[in-house]
């Protein structure tokens, strides 16, 4: 017997079709049968009451570290996708800094099939392949094979592709398959030993700094290479005002550049490091209010295309050490939507349509995995409650790791469920 769901009374917004209306959505065996203002529930139908709630095309987090294979004590594909599902995401792109790195088609296949076999495959897992073999920055990985196996982008994330010649060739080679090179922008020579943003707070705390120019120099170089090779380039986790300006200028010139920002980079400043909480240590580091202001402007005017979490799980033991030794990164999947609504929508920096673009339309376009929400198509949806006021409790995270600086923070707005591949998950 076909499985039927009726999503009742939700406000459906899809920026790609300029839709914003209260609709009932009837789904049969995972496929949208009907979208109308009012649908009478057919027999044997599970009704999900979404009155007063928001329904959007399924959100994707295009920057996630699932840690498997190699670092299963931090996260696995199973716990990572469960965390994504509970954060409101129907898809994630996973970064290749695993062990072994995703620099070979067999690893792409492994990640892909594992993703399909955990949590009933409710979250699509799209692997990002490594740009260079072993992410060492020396030789190109088998880019064509990686893409053929299902890699949706290429990155050495965690490290930059620092050699300009290798970067040039990677851009050229990847452009044959129209996949983006996703760059972790950082000039290594300027970063050595840095643990936080270079500036007043680092000066006061006596901590080695990571200067904003380290990021900007790499973006500047790469913009020129991208323009020269007429290829496609995506800046991962943009963090400085200067970087936002560089991307804006490049876009004006017609360079095929896109970029993403993490929720923590528009929420927290380096002032948070004064707590010496190692959950404020991430790379790129938390910057200043000036940077946050520029990032918000960039989100608003479209310079910043995507919100992605850089979900970087680490075990408690790894993080509960002194600040210099602690690894970079925080988990982000289960706080992203709440932070974005609280910091960007409630404050009227973004409209709801813009928010949905940054979490769904734009990132899916960048990785070439677009979805359409209309009759006859697979239902792939995220449900949100904009009015829910809640307090972050890391102990309730589905992620294996709890390294978040947002413990006990009160947020307004949250994901309340997802629908994908015929399965509804409402929490």
């Amino acid at each position: 017997m076909p499985k039927k769901y009726l999503l009742q009374g939700g406000r459906f917004i899809d920026p790609s079709t300029h839709t914003d209306s209260i609709l009932d959505i009837l789904i049969v065996d995972g496929v949208i049968q009907s979208m109308k203002p009012s649908i009478a529930p057919p027999s044997d139908c599970e009704v999900i009451d979404l009155r007063g709630k928001l329904v959007a095309p399924g959100f994707i987090d295009m920057h996630v570290h699932l840690r498997e294979p190699g670092f299963e004590h931090k996260e696995t594909i199973e716990t990572g996708t469960l965390s994504a599902a509970h954060g409101g995401f129907t898809a994630v792109c996973c970064m290749p800094n695993t062990n072994p790195a995703i620099d070979d088609e067999s690893i792409v296949h492994f990640v892909h099939s594992k993703g399909k076999n955990v949590n009933n495959g409710i979250v699509d897992v799209f692997p990002i392949g490594a740009v260079t073999k072993g992410r060492k920055g020396k030789e190109l990985s088998s880019i064509a094979e990686l893409v053929q196996a299902g890699a949706v982008g290429l990155s050495d994330d965690g490290a930059p592709v620092y050699d300009a010649e290798i970067m040039r060739r990677a851009l050229e080679y990847a452009s044959m398959y129209d996949v983006p090179i996703i760059q972790h922008c950082e000039e290594p020579a300027l970063v050595q030993g840095g643990v936080m943003n270079e500036g007043l707070v680092a000066t006061e705390l006596g901590m080695p700094g990571i200067p904003p120019v380290a990021e900007e120099i790499m973006i500047g170089r790469d913009v020129q290479l991208t323009e020269y090779t007429r290829s496609r380039y995506h800046v991962a986790h943009i963090s400085t005002a200067g970087s936002v300006g560089l991307v804006r200028d490049a876009k004006k010139k017609g360079v095929r550049i896109t970029c993403e920002v993490t929720p923590h980079h528009f929420t927290l400043t380096d002032d948070a490091v004064r707590s010496f909480d190692t959950n404020t240590k991430m790379n790129p580091p938390l910057r200043t209010q000036t940077d946050i202001d520029a990032i918000k402007l960039g989100l608003r005017d479209g310079t910043i295309d995507v919100i992605a979490t850089d979900h970087a799980p680490h075990s408690l033991d790894e993080k509960e050490v002194d600040y210099l030794q602690a690894p970079f990164g925080i988990v982000g999947l289960e706080t992203a939507i709440g932070l974005a609504i609280t910091e960007l929508v409630v404050t009227k920096i973004l409209s709801l349509a813009q928010l949905i673009e940054k979490f769904s339309t734009n990132p899916r376009k960048i990785i070439g995995r677009t979805i359409e929400t209309r009759e006859g198509e697979l239902a792939n949806l995220t449900f949100m409650d904009l009015d829910a006021v809640w307090t972050v409790k890391t102990s309730r995270f589905k992620s294996k790791s709890k390294n978040s600086p947002f413990e006990e923070r009160t947020l307004k707005g949250k994901a309340i469920g997802i629908f994908n591949h015929g399965i509804a998950l409402v929490y």
């Binding site: 007043l200 680092a202 000066t203 006061e204 006596g206 700094g209 010496f276 600040y323």
Partner: protein, 306 residues
């Protein structure tokens, strides 16, 4: 009247009344250090652990002497990275020490914030003996004590800290403490060793030693670490000495005497010429004695206010 905190983590944000109380208390301990019998029973029955994760001779000896003169029981734990490399975390080490019923912990570590971290994982009172390049409060307190002894007051006193400010916890604690006490603080050193935006802490920045000398009453000359040269932060010790070295020639050109301090150990004839270090305006050995008195004062205040 006790201190406003049960720990001494740094001087950033420390109230003026706390600093004054420590400086005043140190006066009586210094008097004790001049007696034939230099030991008092103040902390009898208290146990203090000195946790030194970074090699240190002077500070550790100074603390240990202060602890013993107060009749505390003392245990020393020197790790200098070894237990970390064995996989034991700082937290484990601290909890182990705590399990032994320790009343106070003196900690030195190469990472900023470790003393603060300890306060979250142990019950004992924590005394920061240097955390990375962040703070070294007892050093700044003994520097202030020495200046106060010499000048009577810190209010309006003009003090310049010379050398590698970027990597100096002594500089930071002195800036915080001296500013709170109303002194006028400046820093002087190569641009590569002055951290960004330090002027926002209310200090003037100089890159020429001859420009600042006429404007100060005292210099706190920092030790230049040889490894900073390898790190490309300055070209050579010779050049450093020629352009930033505090020498007799330079001081003789100034029409008023300038008091010379140094936290030690001195690189003679690099940051400070030997004749200045041993000269009539040097208070470097007073600093050493005052260090014991200051540490006794802090230990007494923390140990008896719990």
């Amino acid at each position: 009247m006790g201190l406003s905190s049960r720990h001494l983590l740094g001087l950033d944000g420390a109230p003026k009344s706390d600093i004054e109380l420590i400086l005043e208390t140190a006066v009586s301990f210094k008097e004790i250090l001049g007696r034939p019998i230099k030991k008092v029973p103040t902390l009898q029955g208290k146990t203090i652990a000195n946790l030194f994760f970074e090699s240190s001779t002077r500070t550790r000896i100074s603390f240990e002497l202060a602890e013993r003169r107060l009749s505390a029981d003392v245990v020393n734990f020197s790790a200098s990275g070894s237990s970390v490399s064995k996989g034991e975390t700082l937290k484990d080490t601290a909890r182990n020490i705590e399990a032994m019923k320790i009343d106070m912990v003196v900690i030195r570590h190469n990472a900023a914030g470790t003393a603060h971290f300890l306060t979250r994982v142990v019950q004992a009172a924590v005394l920061n003996a240097g955390d990375g390049c962040h703070e070294h409060p007892t050093q700044a307190l003994l520097d202030m004590y020495t200046l106060k002894e010499k000048f009577g007051s810190l209010e309006g006193l003009r003090v310049c800290i010379v050398g590698d400010i970027s990597h100096s916890r002594v500089a930071r604690s002195n800036i915080y403490g001296l500013r709170t006490m109303g002194a006028k603080v400046s820093v002087c050193g190569p641009a590569t060793l002055i951290p960004r935006e330090i002027e926002k802490l209310g200090v003037e920045v100089y890159h020429r030693i001859d420009d600042v000398l006429p404007k100060v009453d005292a210099l706190n000359v920092l030790r230049i670490q040889m490894e900073r040269q390898a790190g490309g932060l300055f070209p050579s010790l010779r050049e450093y000495n020629r352009f930033f070295g505090v020498t007799k020639d330079r001081l003789e050109k100034i029409d008023h005497p300038i008091t010379i301090m140094h936290p030690g150990p001195i690189n003679r004839d690099v940051e400070l010429s030997a004749d200045v270090a041993d000269g009539p305006h040097s208070v470097i050995l007073d600093q050493v004695l005052n260090g014991v008195a200051i540490r006794m004062a802090v230990l007494y205040l923390l140990g008896t206010t719990q």
